[in-house]
């Protein structure tokens, strides 16, 4: 398709059951009551001139361009602020209106640089369009009067410029920052003619202001005042392709706006059902990694990891891999081989990797990074409800009255959903935050949690059980819901358990350190405040009791009847773009696609027949078992697609030892990541811009990923996996991911109705899509739980074995930050580093004082497992006794200190609790120095210039 701006109806869509019919320019139009005249006109394709109106912002009525005549009404009201009424007769084009509009436009243009031909918004500018629409021919006032034409441009943001000389002060940017993003970083400085858009205060620029660079203001700007630097550099896009973001589990859809093969900008897609036209700094701007100089585009091999890499042909890399795989299989059996699928890759690619491992390698040794994030979600929700997924769509939050956020930091980790949640909170929904840290949701402009329960890391189960105690013992349970929807006997057992004194908030206060009164109030609010929705993240799952916590959350939702309709539910905020999909696609060692156990002979038979192979009936190794077995010599070869386990998995030194012990490590990635330091084969990967396929987001929404440019490495990732399979003689012949998707639909009941053609037509589908749910299921468990009766599970609080003591008196918890993503392989290779150049250790002022530490000092962070160094940030966001850091930078290696403890049910590592000591330091730890050496040595490529010593 050619380049067209997204359609703008001027004012937001109104939800109303009642409709009104009016006549606009002689044509009748029926719209929901409350719709503006401007929007009604837009619906029938009659465009009223406008500048300050745009359909994701509330009507403002400041530009005075959208005036209309209404029969029987005095004057010329603004159509953007006039609601349509039954029988209204509107005229949008009359000589009187023409004159008024021309007069208004004349004033705007009298203080606007007339540099259209050299302007970056030339031919893509609403001001230009409207000047043309009103037929402006001259400006009677001249251009010599007072004006803003000499205002300097603010270049401080790395991704966009602010040029106030082109500004018409329509306030769209200010309102977008307030209403859509909810940061309130912009304002109008001054008054009257002196009014100017300003980021922050007098001396601020965009970078020093509260701006989080989400891009909403840039998108809202009708001129070139706020403009992407990439557009200034490259020029106007010539086509747009709708695709899905490859960062977090929100799954925003974007228009990739292209000029030839070059990506000009990513603009949030207004019809995207996950993001509803919004974006964050990562998806909107941080795509520069795709063409970063570090990207490896040619296959490489080496016999051992001390050697430099050798660039080779695809044929050689694949036959080198196949020979070694075959030999290891001959010598040590199929179970010595395995692989890891990627939550960053498409469903189709993930499906193929597990197919290769199960059908080609012949073992079930397949695992995925969900192991280290949301495996307890899968286990916990399957046990209690019957499906391994969240229960709602994101739109559901618009109907919530009480929102409980536990172990999640949506404004940093899932920013676009965080903004949508904040919109609802500003409308009056109540918020409960359970988190050791004072995250932004607890208190930030116009947002204040009704309750913040700052618990000790590792005590989630105790706190949630205490809340259940209050609900049951104070008679707040929804008995009717429980009797009809859940197993009554199991409920009674559970109710007896939570009612015990030992589970009261007063007794558990000693464990959680949260005042009993706050727990009681929060529990009452959740149980009685209307639609209660729970959102949670890795602060729930990454614990030794991760699965128990997920089940405790499910218990709370069931006991209060908060399941099965809009506005309620249990909602895991999934970390990666396709972690839901990777789990759906059979990435776990014990499950075939669709969460069916490998030991089930019928399911196995289905796959065996379709694939023409025999499957191993026993579950394979999990990641940590693969590494243990490698050290023991039982596990010898691994194919890792798009994951950097060395940096992301706990106890880095143990991961390194496991990888080092293997005979063959195949890394398939964009970059020589940290894991590749231990690899023998490097297969270059392709970015999400270079492939077709589908991602499934946290709301089970399957969305298309569309290729906008040719893969720099020559092959899409599914083609690479297919080439490896064929080097092993498997004879695969897929020509497009749609064929893989057909195979998935054929073999997986919950995907039965999914096809590429349907996704092309309908944009997205929320699984299950089958006979029962032909159009998918935005909300699950509506008429009954998938498993039949909802199951209450008794969740005894078992303290983690990771305990503080005199040697390690502090608890470390880890997390992420807005501008960086996961191990940072992508975001570190973009200008996002300007916001977060290094990982910092957050520490409470009293702990810092005890150690003689000042803000910015170097410290050693030491646990039983290892030590690392980083700089300290003194802040009361963390409680005394708790320290916090991120794991975005390999130089820090935060996971050197995390331990081997993990969730009892799923082995999800306990990243969120490590007993540590922090001391002043003056240099990197031994491990950091050794690792830096190794990593420099390991990244050598034969024939390239060696770095000077």
């Amino acid at each position: 398709m050619g380049y067209e701006r997204q359609k703008d109806f001027g004012t937001p869509r109104v939800k109303s059951e009642k409709h009104v019919t009016l006549t606009i320019d002689g044509r009748a139009v029926t719209v929901p009551e409350g719709t503006t005249v401007m929007r009604a006109a837009s619906e029938i394709g009659s465009s009223i001139p406008k500048l300050c109106a745009t359909d994701n912002l509330k009507q403002f009525g400041s530009c005075r361009l959208c005036l209309v005549e209404i029969e029987g009404a005095r004057g010329t009201p603004a159509s953007c602020t006039t609601p349509a009424a039954e029988g209204m007769v509107v005229k949008t084009q009359t000589p009187r209106l023409d004159k008024l509009r021309k007069g208004v436009m004349e004033l705007y243009i009298s203080d606007h640089p007339l540099d259209c031909l050299t302007c970056s918004a030339n031919n893509d500018c609403e001001l230009q369009d409207q000047a043309a629409a009103v037929g402006l021919r001259d400006v009677r006032y001249g251009y010599e009067g007072a004006n803003h034409l000499a205002e300097p441009t603010d270049h401080s943001n790395p991704y966009f410029d602010f040029d106030p000389s082109k500004c018409i002060v329509c306030s769209r940017c200010v309102r977008a920052c307030d209403e859509v993003q909810g940061t309130f970083a912009l304002t109008i400085d001054g008054r009257g003619f002196g009014s100017e858009v300003s980021a922050g205060q007098t001396l601020d620029n965009f970078m020093s202001s509260e701006c989080v660079s989400c891009g909403a203001c840039v998108q809202a700007c009708p001129t070139a005042t706020l403009q992407e630097k990439s557009v200034k550099k490259i020029g106007k896009p010539e086509r747009a392709v709708v695709t899905t973001c490859a960062y977090c589990g929100v799954g925003c859809t974007f228009r990739a706006e292209m000029r030839g093969e070059q990506l000009v900008r990513m603009v949030p897609y207004k019809d995207g059902k996950a993001n509803r036209g919004h974006s964050c700094v990562k998806g909107r701007f941080a795509w520069g990694y795709a063409n970063h100089q570090d990207r490896i585009t040619r296959p490489m091999v080496r016999d051992n990891i001390d050697q430099p890499w050798r660039e080779v042909s695809w044929e050689e890399a694949l036959s080198f891999s196949a020979n070694k795989l075959n030999q290891i299989k001959r010598d040590h059996g199929a179970r010595a081989l395995g692989g890891i699928t990627s939550s960053r890759c498409t469903n189709e690619e993930t499906f193929l990797v597990q197919k290769l491992i199960r059908g080609g390698f012949g073992s079930n040794n397949v695992d995925t990074c969900a192991r280290v994030c949301h495996s307890p979600t899968g286990y916990g929700l399957k046990t209690t409800f019957g499906t391994s997924a969240g229960t709602q769509d994101f739109d559901s939050v618009e109907d919530s009255d009480v929102i409980l956020v536990i172990g999640a930091n949506p404004t940093d980790g899932h920013p676009v959903f965080g903004s949508r949640m904040k919109q609802r909170l500003r409308q009056g929904a109540k918020l409960i935050v359970i988190d050791p840290r004072r995250i932004d949701l607890v208190k930030s402009p116009h947002i204040k949690a009704a309750h913040h329960l700052p618990l000790q890391p590792g005590t989630n189960v105790a706190l949630l059980t205490a809340m259940a105690h209050v609900i049951v013992s104070e008679g707040l349970a929804d008995e009717e819901f429980i009797r009809t929807r859940c197993d009554w006997d199991e409920y009674q057992d559970w109710a007896r358990f939570v009612s015990q004194d030992k589970n009261s908030p007063e007794v558990l206060e000693g464990v959680t350190r949260v005042p009993a009164q706050s727990v009681r109030e929060a529990a009452r609010l959740y149980a009685t405040g209307g639609n209660g929705a729970i959102y949670y993240g890795l602060g729930v799952t990454e614990h030794s009791q991760g699965s128990s916590t997920v089940m405790a959350i499910a218990n709370l939702a069931m006991v209060t009847g908060n399941i099965g309709r809009k506005g309620v539910g249990v909602n895991p905020l999934r970390g990666q773009n396709n972690v839901q999909g990777a789990c759906d696609m059979g990435s776990f060692p014990h499950e075939l696609p669709g969460y069916r156990h490998i030991s089930d002979a019928d399911t196995r038979a289905l796959f065996e027949k379709d694939w023409g192979v025999t499957l191993d009936p026993d579950p394979g190794f999990r990641i940590n078992n693969m590494l243990d077995a490698a050290v023991d010599g039982e596990f010898r070869a691994i194919y890792i697609q798009g994951e950097d386990i060395l940096q992301s998995d706990p106890n880095t030194q143990h991961v390194a030892a496991g990888l080092e012990a293997m005979e063959l490590v195949i890394v398939h990635d964009l970059f020589l990541n940290e894991t590749a330091n231990y690899a023998h084969v490097f297969l270059p990967g392709s970015t999400f811009l270079e492939k077709n396929g589908t991602f499934t987001n946290a709301e089970r929404r399957i969305q298309p990923v569309r290729k906008v440019m040719e893969p720099a490495n020559g092959m899409e990732d599914w083609e690479v996996t297919q080439a490896l399979a064929n080097a092993l003689g498997l004879g695969w012949s897929y020509t497009h991911p749609s064929e893989i998707l057909d195979e998935i639909a054929r073999l997986t009941p919950s995907f039965a109705g999914v096809s590429w053609d349907r996704l092309e037509r309908e944009d997205s589908l929320q699984w299950p899509v089958n006979e029962e749910f032909p159009d998918g299921a935005p909300v699950m468990h509506v008429d009954g739980f998938v498993r039949g009766k909802g199951k209450f599970v008794v969740t005894d609080y078992v303290p983690t074995d990771e305990k503080t003591g005199p040697r390690f008196p502090l608890l470390l918890t880890t997390g992420r930050i807005l501008s960086q993503y996961n191990v940072g392989a992508q975001t570190r290779r973009t200008a996002n580093v300007e916001w977060h150049p290094e990982d910092l250790l957050e520490m409470h002022p009293s702990d810092a004082e005890n150690r003689g530490l000042n803000d910015g000092d170097w410290t050693t962070l030491k646990s039983r497992t290892g030590e690392t160094t980083l700089r300290v940030k003194v802040t009361d966001r963390v409680a005394p006794g708790v320290v916090y850091t991120t794991f975005h930078h390999p130089a820090t290696q935060a996971n050197v200190v995390t331990t081997d403890f993990s969730d009892w049910a799923t082995n999800c590592p306990e990243y969120k609790v490590t007993a540590v000591q922090v001391m002043p330091s003056n240099g990197p730890s031994d491990w950091q120095e050794e690792y830096t050496d190794l990593s420099q040595k390991s990244r050598r490529i034969a024939g390239e210039m060696e770095p000077a010593e």
Binding site: G190, R191, P445
Partner: protein, 141 residues
């Protein structure tokens, strides 16, 4: 008491009111002679607003100043009625009398249209001004 403590007191005094920002800004302006960037930041944090929002309000009103100005202020009305009663003829002399010591501010209407030209110093209004009276006012302010 530090400035920060005093600001917290002022904020606490008004926090529970509906629309606490304006009374806080008035008190801060009265006490410190300005609402500077630090005060904006502290008020924003106290009221759970963004720094930008507070700055937007401060910069909107002429009577709030970003930095202290020790000069006394004489406001002279130059709206239609005072203009027709001859205020423009007084301006040059007034400016000369003010020099750098006094700040002259133009306002539009002090509500005494029938008896202009008018000026205001603090809360006191002065009507029926001529060049000499205005000069004297400025010199003695």
């Amino acid at each position: 008491m530090s400035k920060e403590q005093r600001l917290s007191e002022i904020i606490a005094e008004h926090q529970s009111r509906e629309g606490p920002l304006m009374p806080i800004l008035h008190d801060v302006q009265a006490e410190f002679g300005c609402v500077d960037a630090d005060s904006e930041r502290i008020i924003a944090a106290g009221l759970n607003l963004s720094r930008a929002e507070v700055h937007g309000v401060v910069s909107f009103y002429h009577d709030f100043h970003g930095e202290p100005d020790a000069r006394p202020v004489v406001q002279i009305c130059r709206a239609e009625a005072c203009k027709s009663r001859g205020v423009e003829a007084l301006i040059a002399d007034a400016e000369a009398a003010a020099g750098t010591r006094v700040k002259l501010a133009t306002v539009y209407c002090l509500g005494l249209c029938s008896v202009g030209p008018n000026a205001r110093i603090g809360d006191d209004l002065h009507a029926r001004l001529d060049s000499d009276r205005l000069k004297k006012l400025i010199e003695t302010v």
